[in-house]
Amino acid sequence: MLFVEQKELVLPGTLLTDNDYKLGRNTFKQKDKIYSDITGLAYFNSDNVTVIPLNYKYEPQYGDLIIGKVLSSSYSSWSIDLNSTYNGFLPTTELYDKNEQNLSSIINVNDKLLLRVAHVDEIKRVKLTIRSQGLGKFNQGVIIRVKQPTIHFLSEENAFLASMIRECTGSDIIIGKNGLIWINGRSEEIEKIIKIIEYIDERPFQHNLIKSVQNIIATKLII
């Protein structure tokens, strides 16, 4: 039996179901009953139940494309701000040029980097990598910060929206999984794109959001 409806707001400790569902994100089991452990929206899938938080921080996972800022450097690694609970580290062995002695000539504090998560261990130490196609330092463009649901909306099944914006404006967009979006192009195009992303950011859970976003792209960008 389900005790809450699909997409209903639940609170910590709300009884979700006593059916034999699998445990999804942000749920826990007590005496064969499944409860929510967070404030969010309950989703019942075919065999599991999850609670989607309304406003959450990024959790690093293997293989994610992220945008980070260099916080500090030590003799063997750089510490990177990931816009998350945990900071990541980028070992100096990741550099292409092993002979370069002056490390600060390559990566400096406050540089913005495009990186990939190489490994996350049990105690959430995040190892990053820069050795892959297209990764590296940003030299131009604008980085904006959005909420995590917006990233989810733009990167999963609706990834075509990002490519649509790319094609319509001729500008570049990179969506970092950690809640940062990098945009590069002509300044008036950037302003338009920021407005669209802010529109999504205000209402990431709205019904039929894809259609309204498509309409806005069609009216604002093409004309």
């Binding site: 910590p12 400790g13 826990f28 007590q30 967070i38 404030t39 309304l54 609970t85 959430k124």
Partner: protein
């Protein structure tokens, strides 16, 4: 018809003081709550989970809950010396121990969750309201929890068991017993008593406290739902 016992401030034995709960009042905190109950005014903020810089204090198997209870110098009738004192250190420890059993601390290794409870105006029962506010603020910060915690005090005044003591009743009464529970499973996470109660009186007081806590639990849920409906 028997006349019911009316307390000094006009309440019956099982009435709480007027209570107002608000969620999300601080912009820079991850989660926050504001409570007014009678003449009590308390503001609670949650910061974190964030990585703990002092590796000495960090735990590899879970987050560290750090709680700070502070009373403003103007909170009581006679000016209180600012800064931490014996009482506030004790209450900080009590509150963090009352909250610990309901948070999934193991989900955030090497981090700290900082809780700061600021009492702007005090009139009896601030430690209970601190716990109520702390659980609201933690829920607002979207930190995984087993349940919301609610707390209230019961006591004995003029040989009667009463709920939610005010400052005067606390000083003049015969007993005072603050309790915090997890309302879903009826687990007690925190209980204290000073004064004297007989066995039957204790049972009666405990029952009354559970009723009061369950009522506060409903108010907490309403406050959280109200915040998200506005959004």
């Amino acid at each position: 018809m028997t006349t019911e016992y009316v307390r000094e401030d006009g309440r019956l034995f099982n009435t709480l003081r007027n209570m107002k709960l608000e969620v999300g009042v601080l912009n820079n905190a991850d989660g926050s709550a504001y409570i007014e109950c009678g003449n009590n005014k308390i503001i609670v903020g949650v910061y974190g989970p964030k990585e703990l810089y002092s590796k000495k204090h960090a735990k590899v198997d879970g987050a560290v809950l750090r709680c700070k209870y502070n009373m403003a110098p103007f909170a009581v009738n006679e000016r209180k010396r600012p800064g931490p004192d014996r009482r506030s250190v004790e209450i900080s420890k009590l509150i963090s121990e009352a909250i610990t059993p309901c948070i999934f601390l193991e989900k955030y290794p090497r981090t700290s969750i900082d809780l700061s409870i600021e009492v702007l105006e005090a009139e009896g029962g601030t430690r209970c309201l601190g716990i109520v506010g702390a659980s609201l603020a933690l829920a607002d910060a979207e930190i995984p929890m087993k349940d919301l915690i609610s707390a209230c005090a019961v006591g004995k005044v003029d040989d009667r068991i009463v709920l939610d003591l005010s400052e005067k009743e606390d000083k003049e009464g015969q007993a005072d017993m603050p309790i915090a529970i997890l309302p879903r499973t009826n687990e007690i996470t925190f209980i204290q008593m000073d004064g004297h109660l007989s066995g039957e009186e204790f049972d009666e007081a405990l029952k009354l406290a559970f009723e009061g806590c369950k009522f506060i639990y409903e108010l907490q849920k309403q406050a959280l739902i109200k915040k998200h409906e506005e959004m």
